[in-house]
Symmetry: C4
Subunit: 291 residues, 4 copies
């Protein structure tokens, strides 16, 4: 599965309807391509809303037939779109195995599987598969350009964040085990994993309250855990802000670098602006700027 | 509805009481205008406190008559103020359709509507309408100058924040649907929207605890969701801090610009560095820099 | 009440025991003064621990007599210290009305008041007054120098934070009133102030769960409120970080300013380091640096 | 107990198997050393998972014998590793008293203690000791280099964070005592320490909801406490980000230092600016700058 995949036109079909559809589906800069994108987003949102409505038990009983048909309608539309994507692209298999190809397939598969797996037991399985169809909405991010700045900084922070999460899990494990011993099963801390779940809920300041310390020493340990969590909540923020600032400084540095590599032949001063033709100190002519 | 509206004096009434009242109501720099603003803010706060007291069932029963009269008193005062605003301004309709005009109207309308819709059923409707009167307090922000820096940075971050909220909602949808399938209606996750509500409550680290996972796998998924939420809580902070820093750097850039108000006497180029003695374009001698 | 008060020696007592004690109590740089500070901090902490132990109903019953005596012991010690402070300082009244003077008084007063107000009803009143004695611990911050950086940045941010809290309260009022109308008293939202309390608890991501939305529309509004709170949680962080960065930049700017005011008499170059005696460009002798 | 300990080879065993094992265990740069590290991490993780599974009451009953044997197996493996570490290092005692030496010992001791303390009463004690075995996972951080940047900034912020936590505890004490007086034992605020626990849970925005204010004045105080907590949640973030930025600036300063590696040929002064051509102290000509 490849994360990034640049779709290319099938050269055998340089002209004709396939070329036209390739540009409509995979490009985003012509009016028909933009209309296609917009229509697709609205269809995805509509299908997600139908899934959400279908999950309501009262609506499901009252409008079972209608919802079933709408569901199949959406599935057929997305199937047609999926096949079209495969037909017009140069390497259909590479697309099918790319991230978006897999998501496209996952968003239509469950409805077909529910067809081949009828019966009472399968019903529950289908419900699980059906949920995967909400992945359709992930397609939305494909259309947003601005996201790359935000995800870029997150991506470069991945090691630090992974390390941070590891430390968090270690602390959660130690405190979860402590609470399992101190509070014990009688107050709901029935296993160490349960204690870990409680420690994560507490340290991240969620605090459901389904599990809460009842003993004095348990409350003391909880207070300690909260103060630890409160003190290190600053760490991911610091990492991300620093990473964002670094990328800004690098961009600025590149800019300066570009117009910094000339020394004045007369007095030797460096650091001229990129449009300078004469030295600002001695007035001597500067060499041409080469990028 | 226009967000920003610069009130202008009606030119037909250049002199007389309308001019005087225009300056009192729409200006904020003369002593009478300041006293008017202060009086208005205090009246708004007093009326909001009365609404809050009226919501208490015991106070409502004991002082029904008195609260009803006070309510009408405030409404008449604000109506008079609203009419006065319309009379003295140049384009009354544009004011009425501006953001503050609509809020001014909404803050007096419910009481009048309760007059035309009497009876038992209307009582509940009036309650809803009455709540809108708290919009009066929004007027307060009009008087605070310092807010523009904070809201400005928020406004410039609007796209990134919108994108961030979209990603948040997508994650909430996927995890809400997962919990709907795994925990199911028997533990309160009765619909996918309910699951989404729970996922938002969890990811934003609110954690009411009215819905909480009971199964082992549900708790594992919850821990994952919390760690995701904890890792990306840094994103809005990073965005906002970066935006604030950018606006500061821009302000600094403006300042430097001010220093470099020298034009080259030969070619007229501006924007020289502060230590420059020769024009970087034509090599002509620059005048001395004066701060 | 004055926040800042620089204690001065009573000139009439330039020598003798009062001078010695003034230096021990109000100074912090000689060994006896340091020992006095340390002893005082430990005594304050011990008295706070005794108050905390006394609040436990079992300990209170079992050791009522002992705790009562220890309580009086601490009160007498702190009274002696308070009187000593008044005796050795130049202007006793100014000290008594300064912030620390008031706190010193408040930390001993409740025990004396419990003496003059006996009886069953008074018992509860004394409990309230007793709580004020924990103000003693505030004395601790007096000894920490490092706090001034942190509180300084908070103090300069006070207007922005006040504005931020005002906006927060306005949003809380609107959403609290909305929930009062939608959820109503049957789900615990009995008054608008109760709704405001719930909105603050929700927006600040505390989320006790004692009040939680039960209706679908209530949950939708809650999700909106949470996203608003989540988006603006970045604002105080941004304000504070920016204020800290500004104070750092200002400190740096002052430093550069200090050694920037010399121009080379030969070539005119500015921006020399503070220990420079010759121009780094032309080697000309620089004038003496005057601070 | 020493935090940092640089293991050295025993000079008496410059060659032979001990030298080989020393490099495998304490070094991390040769293929065998890397394989050893990986194997050790996987073994630690496996043993922690076994402890977690063992805490489940159903699994414990069904597989008591198997889990007991696996537990002993892990203990023997870690004991062998611990002894090997002691044998090959130059100063075994210093290693045993270093932080990692103590953790290594703690991670094997509980199982042996459970052997010498049989009986029903001892069972609970062993459970407590057993928990200490999760310290094994702390070994993991030893292998991560990136952590030093994050922990370094935390370590330099330790004083400010300690001060911040002190202020937090003081506020928690005052508000906890207030709630103890106002809400009282009938709503669960049975002691002042309980009130403190509640105040910490509230201020850090955890909000379990096991204790929640029921009276109007209690809710007003809670709202105040939440707003205080919300306003100062920015402080640790500001401290940490500032500390991270400082360390970056220092790194940048080092880089500049590197450029200015020219000493004055006349007086020997170093640390010149990059555009300096004459020594700023003696006015002697400087050599050309080479990058």
């Amino acid at each position: 599965m490849r994360l990034l995949f640049t779709p290319q036109l099938n050269p055998a079909t340089e002209s004709g309807w396939r070329r036209r559809w390739f540009e409509i589906i995979y490009h985003h800069d012509t009016p028909p391509a933009r209309n296609f994108d917009l229509l697709l987003i609205l269809t995805i949102l509509a299908s997600v809303i139908v899934i959400m409505l279908d999950s309501d038990p009262w609506l499901h009983i009252d409008h079972a037939q209608a919802l079933y048909r709408i569901e199949w309608g959406f599935t057929l539309v997305f199937t047609a779109e999926y096949l079209l994507r495969l037909v017009v692209v140069k390497r259909p298999l590479r697309y099918a195995l790319s991230m978006w190809g897999v998501i496209d397939l996952l968003s239509i598969l469950p409805t077909y599987l529910s067809f081949f797996l009828p019966g009472t037991q399968a019903l529950l399985v289908v419900r699980i598969l059906r949920v995967l169809r909400v992945f359709r909405i992930l397609k939305l991010t494909r259309y947003v350009e601005e996201g790359s700045v935000l995800t870029g900084a997150l991506w470069r922070s991945r090691r630090k964040i992974f390390l941070f999460v590891s430390v968090l899990l270690t602390i959660a494990l130690i405190f979860g085990a402590l609470m399992y011993v101190i509070e014990g099963p009688e107050y709901g801390f029935s296993t160490i994993p349960t204690g870990m779940y409680w420690a994560i809920v507490t340290m991240a300041t969620v605090g459901f309250g389904d599990l809460a310390p009842q003993t004095g020493i348990g409350r003391l340990i909880t207070s300690t855990l909260i103060l630890i969590g409160y003190s290190i909540i600053a760490v991911p923020t610091g990492i991300y802000t620093a990473e964002l600032a670094t990328s800004m400084r690098r961009a600025k540095g590149n800019e300066r670098e570009r117009h910094d590599n000339r020394g004045c032949p007369v007095c030797g001063l460096e650091g001229h602006e990129s449009d300078a033709r004469y030295c600002r100190r001695c007035g001597g002519a500067l060499p041409e700027l080469m990028d």
